[in-house]
C-alpha cells in the first residue's frame, strides 16, 4: 500500500486528465511565446439592436433546466469570448454590462455536439452581430482557460474539485481577435464596455472570479498595440 519512497499507492486516477472532454495531445510542440495584434478601441463603432433576453426567467428555472438537460445530454458546454482591444498602452477587455453592477463576457451555451469555435461565432453574432449589415469576422485561435461547475449551483472553479468526477458544466474562455474595423450592434438591455486590465485585477467582488482572473491568464500574450 506504500511505495518504497514513502508515498502511498493510489491506483488509477479518478479522471484521465484535467480537461476530460478534450483529447490530450502530449508532446505536441507549442511556441513558447505568442504575439497578437491588438486594435485600438477607437477603430470600432457601436450601434444598438433589439434586446436579447435570457433563456431562463429566474435562477430556479436556470438550474432546473440545467438539471433536465444534464440527464439527457450530459455536461453542459459553454463558451465565452474574451475580446481584447487597447487604449493608453493597456489591453482592455470588452464586457457586457447589465444593470449597474453585473458584468459578463459575451458567449453562451453550445448545442449538443457543436464545435466550440463555430458555436462561439454563432453566439457572438447573436450578441454583437449586426442584424442587417456586414457580418463580423471573428478570429478564434486561442483557448485561454477552462472553468467547471461541479454542482447545479452558482460556484465555478478553474479546476474540477478532487472529489468530483462529473462536473455539470464546463465553461471555456476563448480569445477572439477582431478585424481592423467593425461595427457592433449591442442589444438594448446591455451596455458594451471596454474595461482595462488594472480594473479587473484582483477585483473579484465586482467582476467575479472568472473575469477578475483574466489579467493573469492573458499575461502570457504579447499584445502588439497597433495604432
Amino acid at each position: 500500500m506504500v511505495r518504497e519512497n514513502g508515498w502511498p499507492e493510489t491506483g488509477e486516477t479518478a479522471l484521465r486528465s484535467s480537461i476530460p472532454s478534450q483529447v490530450a495531445e502530449l508532446g505536441k510542440e507549442c511556441p513558447l511565446r505568442r504575439a497578437l495584434l491588438l486594435r485600438h478601441v477607437g477603430n470600432y463603432t457601436f450601434a444598438t439592436k433589439d434586446p436579447q433576453t435570457e433563456r431562463d426567467t429566474s435562477v430556479q428555472a436556470r438550474f432546473q433546466r440545467m438539471r433536465e438537460e444534464y440527464d439527457v445530454v450530459g455536461m453542459r458546454r459553454s463558451v465565452e469570448a474574451v475580446i481584447v482591444v487597447h487604449e493608453h498602452s493597456l489591453p482592455h477587455i470588452l464586457l457586457l454590462q447589465i444593470g449597474t453592477s453585473f458584468y459578463k463576457l459575451p458567449g453562451g451555451e453550445l448545442e449538443q455536439g457543436e464545435d466550440e469555435r463555430k458555436g462561439l461565432s454563432r453566439l457572438l453574432d447573436e450578441a454583437l452581430g449586426n442584424p442587417e449589415g456586414d457580418k463580423t469576422e471573428w478570429k478564434i485561435e486561442d483557448e485561454i482557460s477552462n472553468w467547471w461547475r461541479p454542482n447545479f449551483d452558482p460556484p465555478r472553479y478553474p479546476y474540477i474539485p478532487a472529489h468530483c468526477t462529473k462536473p455539470k458544466e464546463q465553461i471555456k474562455l476563448l480569445l477572439v481577435q477582431l478585424p481592423e474595423k467593425a461595427t457592433f450592434s449591442v442589444p438594448r438591455n446591455y451596455k458594451l464596455i471596454a474595461v482595462p486590465l488594472y480594473e479587473l485585477y484582483d477585483n473579484s467582488t465586482c467582476y467575479g472570479p472568472l473575469i477578475s482572473s483574466l489579467p493573469t491568464t492573458l499575461s502570457r500574450f504579447n499584445f502588439v498595440y497597433s495604432s
Binding site: 502511498p8 444534464y70 440527464d71 444593470g99 472553479y157 474539485p161 468530483c164 467582488t205
Partner: protein
C-alpha cells in the same frame, strides 16, 4: 433516521429555496432592471466570498426539514437529478464522514455497488468549501429504504477508501455539527485566505487584516514577553532563552499553527543544531524523521499520518496534501520558521502562504508592517511570527472556554504572583537583589502568557509584580517602604500574601505595625494580628 419525502428535497430546487431568494431581495434595489437571473448571477459572484451557510438540520418536522435541506443543498452539492423523482417516494439519509478530500463520488459509488446497495441509492451530495470547491470530507447519502441505510452503517466502516475508514452517521443535527467541526479545523486556512476587508498590496508585501489565530486566541497582554520569544535568528544559532519551550510544544494538538515544520533536507540540519542546544528537541523531531529520510520523501501525507494519528482528527488530512506538495520547494525558507513548531501540518499552512508567512503582532519587525501582513521571513528575519509565539504558551487553539478553567487559571496566577512577591521581598531583604528580580520577571512572564492575561485581575497582578520589581531595583531604605506599600496593595487586590519572617522584620523596623493591623482582618495576614508575635520572630 429521517424521512424525507421527494417533494421536500425537490422543493428546494423549484421554489422554496431560501438562500437565492434572499439574495434576490438584497440585490433588487441595486438594479435598474429587475432581471432576476442577473440579480442572482451577481449574487453568485458575491457569494464567492461568503462562507457556506451552516446547514441546520432538524430531523423531525417536515417543513423544517425541507427548509434545512434547502440550506444544506444549496450551499453544498445539489446534484439531485430528475430521475430520483417519484411521487410519494420516501427518502432515507445518512452522513458519510472521515473520507479524504480526494475521495470521489465514483469511489463512494463503487463501495456501494460492492455492498449491493446501488439500486437503492437515490443520490449523494458532497459538502464543499464554497471558497474553493474542495470537499469538506463528508457527504450525504440518500436511499430509498431505511434498510439500506442500516446496511451502509454496518458495512461501510469495515471498508477502507483511500486508506481511511469511512464513518457513517445518522441524519441529525449533531452529526452535521460534528462533521462541520472536523472540517472547520482544516478550514482555518481557508478562512485566513478569504478574510476580506482592506488588503493592500505593496509589491510582494500584502498588508491585510489579522489572521484567525490572532482573533481567536487571547492577546499576549499587549507586549511580547522577552523571555519567551522565539526569534528567528536564535533558532538557528542560539537557544530560546528562558521558559522551557519544548515541553509545551509536545502537548500541542490541533492548534492553528501557521508555519509548517521543516521537511526533508533542512531537517537533518536542524536536528543537529538542536542536539547541541536543546536536548529535548530531537525527541520531537525524531517523530517526524523516519518518514522523511530522503529528499524525495513525501512531506507528511498519508504515510506519516500513521505516526501522528492521534493528534489530528481525520478531517485534517484535507489540507495536508496540497500544501505539502507546494512546500517542497519552500522548505529551506520555511525551515527556519518552523523549527519550534512540530505540527506536521502543512495542514494549517494554507494554500496561500508559500514561502511567505502571515505575521501576527508587529513586535519588532520593520516599521509600518501591520498585523496580518504577508511577509517573507527571509527578507525580514527579525520579524516574529504570531503562531510561533502562541504555541509554546497555548496548549489549545481557542481561548479560555469556560468559567471553571478561567477561574482555575486565575487562581493559579494569583498564587504565582503572591509567592513570587513574597519570595522576592525576602530575597531583597536578605540582599539577593538579582534573585528577587529574576523571580519577579518570571512571574510576570508566566502571568502574561497565560490565557487569562487580558483580564483586569491579571493585569493588576502583573502591575503589582512590576511595582515590586521597581521597588526592589531602587536601592535604599525607601525600598522597604515601597515594598511594604506594595504588599498592602497586593493584599488589597485580594491576593493572598505570604509574608515571611524576614520581611516582617523589615516592616517592624519601619514601624509599620499600624498598616498590618489595618490589614489584619484579612485572612491572609492572620499571623500578624498580634504585634508581640512579631517581635518574637
Amino acid at each position: 433516521m429521517t424521512d424525507l419525502t421527494d417533494d421536500d428535497l425537490l422543493d428546494s430546487f423549484t421554489g422554496t429555496a431560501e438562500l437565492p431568494a434572499d439574495e434576490n431581495e438584497l440585490l433588487a434595489d441595486l438594479k435598474e432592471e429587475p432581471d432576476d437571473l442577473f440579480d442572482e448571477a451577481l449574487g453568485e459572484e458575491q457569494n464567492g466570498k461568503v462562507e457556506p451557510a451552516k446547514p441546520v438540520v432538524a430531523p423531525v418536522v417536515k417543513e423544517e426539514v425541507s427548509a434545512s435541506a434547502t440550506r444544506s443543498l444549496s450551499s453544498t452539492n445539489g446534484s439531485m437529478t430528475r430521475k430520483s423523482e417519484r411521487s410519494g417516494e420516501r427518502k432515507y439519509c445518512c452522513y458519510v464522514g472521515n473520507i479524504t478530500w480526494w475521495t470521489t463520488d465514483a469511489d463512494l459509488r463503487q463501495a456501494i455497488v460492492e455492498m449491493d446497495l446501488e439500486p437503492d441509492l437515490v443520490d449523494m451530495k458532497f459538502f464543499e468549501n464554497r471558497t474553493n470547491g474542495s470537499s469538506k470530507g463528508y457527504a450525504l447519502m440518500v436511499f430509498h429504504s431505511e434498510d439500506s441505510v442500516t446496511k451502509l452503517t454496518e458495512g461501510l466502516p469495515k471498508r477502507t477508501i483511500h486508506n481511511q475508514q469511512p464513518m457513517v452517521l445518522p441524519y441529525t443535527k449533531q452529526s452535521l455539527a460534528r462533521l462541520e467541526e472536523a472540517s472547520m479545523k482544516t478550514m482555518s486556512s481557508d478562512g485566513k485566505r478569504r478574510q476580506g476587508g482592506e488588503i493592500l498590496n505593496l509589491g510582494t508585501i500584502r498588508i491585510g487584516p489579522s489572521m484567525n489565530q490572532m482573533n481567536r486566541g487571547p492577546t499576549m497582554g499587549g507586549n511580547i514577553v522577552p523571555t519567551v520569544k522565539l526569534t528567528l535568528p536564535t533558532l538557528m544559532g542560539g537557544r530560546p532563552p528562558g521558559v522551557p519551550a519544548p515541553q509545551p510544544l509536545m502537548s500541542l494538538v490541533t492548534g492553528p499553527p501557521v508555519a509548517p515544520p521543516p521537511q526533508g533536507p533542512p531537517r537533518p540540519l536542524m536536528n543537529t543544531n538542536y542536539q547541541q542546544q536543546q536536548p529535548s528537541m530531537p525527541q520531537m523531531n525524531m517523530q517526524m524523521q523516519p518518514p522523511m529520510m530522503t529528499n524525495t520523501a513525501p512531506p507528511g501525507m498519508s504515510a506519516p499520518p500513521p505516526l501522528i494519528p492521534n493528534m489530528r482528527p481525520p478531517g485534517m488530512q484535507v489540507n495536508q496534501q496540497p500544501p505539502g506538495m507546494m512546500q517542497m520547494q519552500q522548505m529551506p525558507q520555511m525551515g527556519q520558521m518552523g523549527q519550534m513548531n512540530q505540527m506536521p501540518p502543512m495542514a494549517q499552512m494554507g494554500m496561500q502562504n508559500l514561502g511567505a508567512v502571515r505575521i501576527g503582532l508587529p513586535s519588532n519587525g520593520p516599521p509600518g508592517i501591520m498585523p496580518g501582513a504577508h511577509i517573507n521571513p527571509q527578507v525580514y528575519p527579525g520579524y516574529q511570527q504570531m503562531g510561533m509565539q502562541q504555541h509554546p504558551m497555548m496548549q489549545r487553539p481557542e481561548g479560555p472556554t469556560n468559567d471553571a478553567e478561567f477561574e482555575e487559571i486565575m487562581s493559579r496566577n494569583r498564587t504565582v504572583s503572591s509567592s513570587a512577591i513574597s519570595r522576592a521581598v525576602s530575597d531583597a531583604s536578605s540582599g539577593d537583589i538579582e534573585g528577587a528580580i529574576e523571580t519577579l520577571l518570571t512571574a510576570i512572564s508566566l502571568i502574561k502568557s497565560s490565557k487569562v492575561s487580558y483580564d483586569d485581575r491579571c493585569k493588576q497582578l502583573v502591575t503589582s509584580l512590576q511595582d515590586t520589581l521597581a521597588g526592589i531595583e531602587t536601592k535604599g531604605s525607601s525600598r522597604l517602604v515601597t515594598v511594604s506599600a506594595i504588599v498592602v496593595r497586593v493584599a488589597a487586590a485580594g491576593t493572598t500574601v505570604v509574608i515571611d519572617s524576614c520581611a516582617i522584620d523589615c516592616v517592624v523596623e519601619l514601624n509599620m505595625c499600624r498598616f498590618l493591623s489595618l490589614l489584619s482582618p484579612r485572612p491572609s495576614l492572620t499571623p500578624l494580628r498580634r504585634p508581640t508575635h512579631l517581635s518574637a520572630s
